[in-house]
Amino acid sequence: MNLDSLLPNLGEWLRGSGPESDVVVSTRIRLARNIVNFPFTNRAGHKQKAEILAKAQEALVHADLPDPLQFIEVTNLTALDRQFLVERQLISRELATVLDGPRGAAFDAKESVSVMVNEEDHLRLQVLRSGFALDEAWQDIDRLDDALEVKLTYAFHPQFGYVTACPTNVGTGLRGSVMLHLPALGITKQIDKVFRALQKINLAVRGLHGEGSRAFGDLYQISNQVTLGKSEPKILNEIREVIQTILQYERQARAALLKERRQDEQNRVARAIGTLSSATMITSEETMELLSAVRLGIHLKLLDDLPPTTVNQLFIHTQAAHLQKLMGQPLDGEERNAARAKYLKSKLRELGSSR
């Protein structure tokens, strides 16, 4: 499969639409599942992993689903392609580079559904949705789970529920994550207060790429920690309530910014555009920080006619693997910073002239 065909698309999570998309970038739900009569991945040998992979592939390719899944073996992919899929949020960094042995991934053409095979658990099902869409994401993943269960026998304990390699995931195996863009809470220095409150109620806050990753560009993922003792709808409801509160805080902070320091903000956004369209070397981190200002500028209507999808496109295309695919050649760090600056400059000029 040639992954380059995905390059022009933004993928479901960067579609830039969906409910509450001024603050909520995307919603993700994942389910951890394991197949009976096999050890968990970390204790499975090469042969057992190959067997699990074959069983999973059979189920994934033939499952009765509204959109068919494309299956790929991770070991057949180049390092660049693996990184590319990580940047598109279709596979985890662990599956791409840390783990070894037979492992796979499957996803649909819309890049809304993806399944990893032989990650920490035999199967990690994932549904991504643009905007704040926990119910829709749950319906999709529940259906996917049912469809796979027709073909596979899941390991299930009468008391503990769906069993997982790590006891932090046992029970429902469900992790719901909502990715938020919270620049105004950052500017007004209230973000730490919000996170302290979240931790008290057992919700985790992570950066863009999940566990242990830093928060770049004011993007944060909020997710549940508890997976046992609550039904799936209850877990999702608890996340929903908290997200609604954070949404209010962020919008209040944005309104206050507009009211009290509109000119400062306008200046900050204009400078961000200025740097993005005139730099000759720029890192991915700086790009993300500046794009965060631009995104906020769009939603505060401080910028004319720049659609939010532009920011998403620049955001994904300036990440390392995407950039190298666009340029059609491998680039080292310095070369990437130059190529990134060049790409941003030409894209923004293109948009400027079309306006």
């Binding site: 970390n42 899941y154 299930f156 503990f160 069993v163 997982t164 790590c166 806050v205 920690q225 039904s231």
Partner: protein, 174 residues
């Protein structure tokens, strides 16, 4: 105030509000001890290690340098299916196979209580498992019906017969 783990001055103060008495539980530590227990992240991220925090607040308060060796209860359990020992799991944090949940059940229950504040799954059940339950229920009801008929308790037998019919008629998908 002194750190509860070493002689240094305490600079980190944790308070846990509990419903039962005592209403408030406090822990005081110095920065070094707090770092050792992963309560302060190394980088300046907003991420506090919640598990470490909970572990400290929920677990018994024991200075690590206490005179008598700490009796750490690691049950000597081994999974007959995959051969994983419970102490190996505690060291690595990952279980070996689904049967570990059966072999280590007694030890996992308190651990799950600490992680999830629960020990029993309440949520989706695989359709195959649901069907299994339904069949077992029906078998049980039929046995009871036969027993009632044999004891000439026809009223009860009729009630059970209706219940069985009703159960058999319901959609087995959910």
């Amino acid at each position: 105030m002194k750190c509860q783990f070493c002689p240094n001055e305490a600079t980190v103060h944790l308070t846990k509000i509990v419903k039962a008495t005592p209403r408030k539980q406090e822990v005081h530590l110095c920065e070094t001890c707090a770092r050792e227990r992963n309560l302060i992240p190394d980088q300046a991220t907003p991420h506090v290690d919640l598990k470490a925090l909970l572990g400290l607040l929920l677990g018994p308060l024991q200075p690590q340098s206490a005179g008598k060796p700490r009796a750490v209860e690691t049950p000597a359990l081994t999974c007959p299916t995959c051969g994983l020992k419970y102490e190996q799991f505690r060291a690595e944090g990952r279980l070996g196979c689904p049967d570990d949940y059966v072999a280590f059940q007694s030890a996992l229950e308190p651990l799950l209580e600490r992680i999830h504040q629960a020990q029993t799954h309440l949520g989706k059940v695989p359709a195959a498992v649901r069907r299994g339950h339904r069949e077992a229920d029906l078998k049980d009801l039929k046995k009871k019906m036969k027993a009632a008929a044999k004891a000439e308790n026809y009223e009860e037998a009729a009630r059970l017969r209706d219940l069985i019919r009703q159960k058999e008629a319901t959609d087995e998908s959910r």
